[in-house]
């Protein structure tokens, strides 16, 4: 069972501002039945641009209902400029916290608010011009980027918790990780040399591709400088079986080359678990 705060339970059991404003000035709809949660936010704005009334309708779990209700409480009485500064963090804070896996409920609140403000102003949302990354939940690159930056996310699991992206068929995991890596590097939070350590476990196909790439791009040119060479024979689990060619094949120090250079390079670029072994090619 989820550990919900008393405030989450209170706002779930006695939600404030339930309903639909018929002649609303702003309407925001996010989510769907297929996704398992959906929120419709409506609000009224007075002549001074202040939100005077807000109502919500939510299909979803306790976190989704509580987050939606909290959102309406947060925005009533605020100007649109003030309201658009509200993020999912404010919703979580208002509720005294949410389980990590339920963070996407607070993000849904933030997105509904953005959509309703855009609707009021007759603007398009930035996400509408962004490419969909997760087909299962219709999550765009823009949404993923924003969630990473706003919540300082550093792992794929966190991105799924906050946005749902990657929580279905998982075929978008590689793309999400690439987005995460790019943003972390752009924001100076990760150096390229940390890439290998940050990687998730590789599939066999990914491992083979990366080993081949590293051999071709980094290792072979270095060995060729001394007239040597290396060929990939096979990959069995984490064992990389290679045969040495050219001057490396007869070099007395070939084992040092294999361990100190080839193995270290492959561990750096592919996986810390790799062990390089020489076999007769």
């Amino acid at each position: 069972m989820w550990e919900y705060t008393d405030k989450v339970r209170e706002y779930f059991n006695n939600p404030r501002n339930v309903g639909d404003i018929e002649d609303a000035d702003g309407v925001g709809e996010v989510g769907s039945l297929a996704c398992g949660d959906a929120l419709r936010l409506t609000f009224k704005v007075d002549d001074e641009g202040r939100i005077t009334e807000a109502k919500f309708q939510t299909f979803g779990c306790a976190s989704a209902i509580a987050s939606s209700s909290a959102l309406t409480e947060l925005i009533i009485g605020k100007t649109l400029e003030e309201a658009e500064k509200i993020t999912n963090k404010d919703i979580v804070e208002f509720l005294g916290g949410l389980p990590q896996q339920k963070m996407h409920c607070s993000v849904m609140g933030q997105e509904a608010l953005r959509a309703a403000i855009a609707n009021y102003r007759g603007e398009k949302l930035p996400k509408e011009d962004s490419e969909i990354v997760c087909e299962c939940f219709g999550i765009t690159e823009n949404e993923i980027e924003e969630a990473i930056r706003q919540n300082e996310l550093t792992t794929l699991e966190q991105i799924t918790d906050y946005t749902k992206a990657g929580g279905g068929c998982e075929s978008c995991h590689e793309r999400i990780e690439a987005i995460l890596e790019r943003i972390l590097q752009e924001d100076g939070k990760r150096k390229p040399s940390q890439e290998a350590a940050a990687r998730r476990p590789l599939t066999n196909v990914q491992k083979i591709k990366l080993v081949e790439q590293t051999l071709e791009r980094d290792i072979k040119p270095e060995l060729a400088k001394d007239g040597g060479g290396i060929e990939l024979v096979d990959i069995v689990g984490d064992r990389v079986l290679v045969s040495l060619t050219g001057t490396c094949a007869t070099c007395m120090a070939s084992q040092i080359t294999l361990k100190d250079y080839v193995e270290n390079k492959l561990r750096e670029m592919v996986s810390d678990a790799l062990v390089v072994e020489e076999v007769q090619g």
């Binding site: 069972m1 989820w2 339970r9 779930f12 059991n13 939600p15 339930v18 639909d20 709809e29 769907s32 039945l33 297929a34 398992g36 949660d37 959906a38 929120l39 419709r40 309708q57 939510t58 299909f59 979803g60 779990c61 306790a62 976190s63 989704a64 209902i65 896996q101 339920k102 299962c136 939940f137 799924t160 749902k164 929580g167 279905g168």
Partner: protein
């Protein structure tokens, strides 16, 4: 607050008689059954009695019973054993609606290069015998199909499938964790090669399971160690749990005809009452071929976790196949495999009864459920007085 426990497919209460019989084996009767002295000997005799009681419940011989730590271990053992004794065969047949104890083993084997056929189910959660027949290939090592589905209670024709498997020279295993104690099982009259069951699903303790292996079935142990269980499962026996399971099986055998029918009547009352009092509700699973204690019912346009929390506040413990309950983001693989639309899959609740439930409890659930659903629907953007408010992407 009164506790109304209707989540018995998750786990069951340990029967008082079971608890009483287990107790001495936690304290004064602590001998190791493998010991040569009289102190271990009396424990060994008690284990023998438990083995006989388990065998009697499922129509097996005591020598065909292997004690394990749980249903999951039994399932794993059955599958891994079948592959090990058939080194030239690399194909496994199962279904899309298995418990993770089989489903995830199959997925793991697939990643390791084995070929896996996951048979589909129809809208009522039933598999087709013809599909099983067509799936069998010369390299099929094992067919593993559950006896009863844990979410819907749908009963699969495992005895017929076992016959089919036998005629094609393929081993057959069934995960009977949900079926044991709720439906009659007579393995002597069937061709089932291996069967799994679990103590805590039939009012026994947690941490004890059984793998039945038909005499003469080639077998390779999963847990390799000492001579326990005739060398088929290493590790010192969990004596109190084995004793408890033995007693639980004895009780289940006594209660099967009468008590189970009473439980079915309660389940039927609950089902009928909910369908009549709550519009846009539907039962998931085959109308007849279903466990007598299980009701999987969906309430459209509301979400399962919300319903569960509201029920929990009333002292009612049930479960849901909704995404939000599990920590996954998608509704239950069982309901999706059945083609249950999203409008209903996210709002599914499973009530699973035991012989300890009463008619008063069913009346109470029937009293509190309609207002809960009504309140949650009043919040839902998809609900307007029985009509969907707007279109959605539900399949």
């Amino acid at each position: 607050m009164k506790l109304i426990y209707v989540d018995n497919n998750a786990t069951t209460m340990v029967a008082p008689e079971v608890m009483a019989e287990m107790k001495p084996y936690f304290s004064e009767l602590y001998g190791n059954p493998s010991s040569m002295h009289f102190f271990g000997g009396q424990v060994q005799r008690k284990i023998r009695q438990a083995r006989e009681r388990v065998a009697a419940l499922i129509g097996a011989e005591p020598g065909e019973i292997i004690f394990t730590s749980c249903g999951t271990e039994s399932d794993n053992t059955a599958i891994m054993s079948a592959l090990e004794v058939n080194p030239t065969k690399d194909h496994l047949i199962t279904t899309r609606v298995e418990h993770p104890a089989v489903k995830n083993v199959a997925a793991h084997l697939k990643r390791k290069g084995y070929s896996v056929t996951e048979l589909p189910v129809d809208r009522e959660g039933m598999i087709s015998l013809e599909a099983v027949r067509e799936a069998i290939m010369p390299n099929t090592a094992l067919i593993s199909i559950m006896w009863a589905n844990n979410e819907t209670g749908v009963l699969f024709p495992v005895e017929e499938i076992a016959e089919l498997a036998k005629s094609r020279g393929v081993l057959f295993h069934t995960d009977a964790v949900q079926a044991a104690g709720k439906v009659p099982i007579n393995l002597a009259a069937s061709s089932i090669d291996m069967l799994s069951l679990s103590g805590h699903k039939l009012h026994g303790p947690k941490g004890i399971g059984v793998l039945y292996v038909r005499k003469g079935t080639p077998f390779a142990p999963f847990l390799i160690g000492g001579h326990q269980e005739g060398g088929r499962r290493g590790g010192t026996e969990n004596v109190p749990a084995i004793v408890g399971l033995g007693k639980a099986c004895e009780l289940a055998a006594q209660r099967l005809p009468v008590e189970v029918e009473r439980m079915r009547a309660l389940r039927d009352k609950l089902e009928k009452g909910l369908l009549e009092s709550i519009p846009h509700s539907l039962v998931n699973g085959h109308p007849e071929q279903r466990l007598p204690n299980t009701l999987s019912i969906s309430f459209e346009y509301v979400e399962g976790e919300s319903i569960l929390l509201k029920l929990s506040d009333k002292g009612i413990c049930a479960s849901s196949g909704s995404a939000c309950t599990s920590g996954s983001l998608e509704p239950s693989h069982v309901l999706r495999a059945m083609g249950v639309p999203f409008t209903a899959a996210h709002g599914s609740i499973r009530f699973s009864l035991s012989i300890y439930n009463s008619e008063e409890e069913m009346d109470y659930i029937l009293e509190v459920m309609p207002p809960i659903i009504e309140q949650l629907r009043s919040i839902s953007p998809f609900w307007k007085g029985g009509l969907t408010a707007r279109s959605c992407t539900a399949s």
